[in-house]
């Protein structure tokens, strides 16, 4: 596979691991922001190959994990009203306050698992007598396609299509983590996929304000070890700037067309993060002129609320304060077939990644 195999090369990866070992002189805590990076680190066994001084902390960048419990309950309420709810795959097993989307499907709800929100628009088109809602979760990465689905539905005059929005943004989350009194993070691996859309500009003020290196990093083994090497080098050299490891994908200005679509449909708003709480200006909501596509308003489910399972420490996991295996419920009261919180469900979730791939059990 061209453009993938090159970044999975054993010798090149070894060289960077060696450079990390030669560069590091003291312990550093580096947070990989994106769940895809967590997955890549653990799936490839990279964590065990790093020198002891380099400690990877798994960040909040798993969209499934940070989607609030109440949103899942709202999606289930829509299914119970007879609405066709369309969702990305790994959302469907996440427990809501009473059940998951998958359990609601088994009870007779109409749930469709899709790869693209545009497929949901097609479902709305061919089912004019049914209501169709796309569960629009995710970071900046999924926002353009979700926005595009709204524009497409508007263009086609589909009044039976709407979206249940739970979009969140990376930079405010990083800032919230840095502001936490227990924060021990020395550097970030920035989410390469998010920056492919949004560019790198937002990270400069953050890096400057908190004097923290941010290395925008990809997802393949070589990307990850090179990103870690760049972060360690900055730390050892007492530098704190934004660097781009993922130059083959990420441009400083991002993807202008995608950004345009996002800003046409969405505006920045306060958002609840599962396990973390409300972070100001940390997500998107539909703009006023697209409120007809807001499923929460359309079906009157905005007031649904719920409380998290008390023994789940997802918040501390997502902020990097605790590792999954430090949770008393890990592998005992909570595992992927019976998860208490979202990080145990999503393949990008730190708890599930530890459960599936690492030797800590």
């Amino acid at each position: 596979m061209k453009y993938l195999n090159e970044y999975r090369d054993l010798e090149a990866t070894k060289r960077y691991l060696q450079r990390i070992r030669e560069t590091v002189t003291k312990p550093w805590n580096i947070m990989e922001v994106c769940g895809g990076q967590t997955h890549g680190l653990i799936k490839n066994g990279i964590i065990d190959l790093l020198p002891e001084q380099v400690r990877m902390i798994h960040g909040p960048g798993c969209p499934v994990c940070v989607t609030p419990l109440t949103l899942i309950d709202k999606a289930i309420a829509l299914m119970e009203q007879g609405v066709i709810v369309c969702s990305f795959g790994d959302m469907i097993r996440v427990p809501g306050s009473k059940k998951s989307l998958l359990e609601a499907k088994a009870e007779g709800g109409d749930l469709r698992i899709l790869y693209s929100p545009l497929e949901a628009v097609s479902i709305a088109r061919v089912n004019p007598d049914r209501e169709v809602v796309f569960f629009a979760v995710g970071f900046e990465t999924t926002a353009p396609a979700n926005a595009l689905s709204v524009l497409q539905a508007e263009k086609e005059g589909l009044s039976n299509y709407s979206i249940l929005v739970s979009h969140v943004l990376v930079p405010p989350a990083m800032e919230a983590i840095l502001d936490d009194e227990f924060c021990t993070i020395d550097a970030f691996l920035g989410a390469g996929n998010v920056c492919a859309i949004m560019g790198t500009a937002e990270y400069h003020p953050l890096s400057k304000k908190y004097k923290v290196p941010v290395v925008v990093t990809g997802f393949e083994p070589l990307d990850l070890v090179q990103g870690i090497y760049m972060a360690v080098s900055q730390l050892e050299e007492k530098r704190a700037v934004v660097e781009n490891q993922y130059v083959r994908i990420v441009k400083d200005e991002g993807n202008l067309a995608a950004k345009k679509v996002i800003s046409r449909v969405f505006e920045v708003a306060d958002r609840d993060w599962r396990g973390i709480g409300t972070i100001p200006k940390s997500g998107y909501k539909l703009r006023e002129n697209y409120s007809a596509f807001d499923a929460e308003l359309k079906y009157g489910v905005a007031s649904i609320g719920a409380k998290e399972h008390s023994s789940c420490i997802a918040g501390e996991i997502l902020k990097g304060i605790k590792k999954p295996h430090q949770c008393p419920e890990f592998g005992k009261g909570c595992d992927p077939s019976n998860p208490l919180g979202a990080p145990m469900v999503s393949s990008e979730g730190a708890c599930a990644a530890y459960y599936h791939f690492s030797e800590t059990l």
Partner: protein, 341 residues
């Protein structure tokens, strides 16, 4: 009714009523296709002459879409059960064949499926000796479900069981991973993508027989990684033997297109279904001979030794990654779910 007219019709509830229409369907499609002494007695069941150790296995097939690149639900229903009998170290001989057909299925599709059953059974050297056809109302099935049960005599040299898996044993995989699952995915409604990925669905009984002929007791275990994929089979071996199963990512054969499709869809090939693939656990001294024997055959030409049963008493599957790291391979929980981003 002649075959020509019949093939233009549609299955309706009458075809499962037990009356004239059922008889017509059986005469024109089933008996005509299979035409063997067991079925021709038209008895309620088959009388078989079996002696010694006998293996029996049953499976139901509900694949959707029913026609896919490399086969259809009919050939799959034969291969799946034939292979399960073979995995017991047996030579499959007889099959039962039950259809649950949904009202509205086109007769020509039903006939194609039945013909595929016949072709696959002939290729596998098994005879369909008894069967049943039921028709359910529209909406209560998904075109067609098939159940097959296979029976065969255990190979005289076979001594296959989990208890025989020992530390130091080698793990051989007979071909590339994930072909069937990804062929199905590429044609599933709403997910169609262009590829040349063909299901690996095939009968493995002759390969199994040849291995047993040649190596007898040095073969310790056969398993076919169908649903749940390779990870499922290896996790079972680790759990049942209480030993660590070590595998090497670099040695696991994987077709480039399948690997690419898995990347695009966010799926791990270790968890994807196979239908023409087996894992065989063997004494280490016959590793090279087994691999070269498999590679000399069309169905095993990409066979590889992918790992070892370790002497560590830890019931886990550990994968050595291409870049020199290690990770645990755990069994699948629920269905494999594509990731958001």
């Amino acid at each position: 009714m002649k075959d020509n007219n019949l093939s233009k019709s549609t299955i309706n509830l009458g075809h499962g009523s037990g009356g004239v229409m059922t008889r017509e369907l059986l005469d024109e499609v089933i008996f005509k296709t299979f035409n063997n002494p067991f079925l021709n007695t038209r008895h309620d069941g088959a009388i078989l002459d079996l002696s010694g150790e006998v293996a029996i296995s049953t499976d139901s097939f509900v694949v959707s879409p029913i026609f896919f690149k490399g086969g259809n639900i009919g050939s799959l229903a034969v291969h799946g059960t034939v292979n399960d009998v073979a995995m017991c170290g047996a030579i499959p001989q007889y099959l039962s064949l039950s259809f649950i057909v949904e009202e509205g299925m086109e007769m020509k599709d039903f006939i194609s499926v039945v013909r595929s059953v016949k072709e696959a059974a002939d290729e596998s050297g098994v005879q369909v000796v008894t069967g049943d056809t039921k028709v359910v109302e529209r909406g209560k099935g998904d075109q067609i479900f098939i159940n097959t049960t296979g029976i065969g005599r255990v190979h005289p040299k076979a001594n296959i069981s989990m208890a025989r898996v020992k530390p130091g044993d080698k793990i051989i995989l007979s071909g590339p991973l994930a072909q069937h699952g990804m062929a199905i995915m590429s044609q599933r409604e709403g997910l169609e993508f262009e590829s040349d990925i063909v299901s690996d669905s095939t009968n493995l009984n002759y390969l199994v027989r040849d291995l047993l002929d040649q190596f007898g007791e040095k073969i310790h275990l056969f398993r076919d990684p169908t649903r749940g994929g390779l990870s499922g089979v290896l996790s079972e071996i680790a759990a049942d033997t209480g030993r660590e199963v070590e595998i090497y990512e670099k040695d696991i054969p994987l077709d480039t297109q399948v690997a690419a499709a898995c990347e695009i869809l966010g799926l791990d090939p270790l968890y994807v279904a196979n239908e023409g693939l087996f894992v065989v656990i063997i004494s280490p001294e016959i590793e090279e001979e087994v691999v070269s024997m498999l590679r000399a055959s069309e169905k095993g030409r990409k066979a590889c030794c992918i790992g070892t049963i370790s002497d560590r008493e830890v019931p886990k599957v550990v994968l050595h990654s291409n870049i020199g790291g290690k990770r645990i391979v755990s069994p699948l929980i629920g269905e494999q779910l594509p990731r958001i981003c």
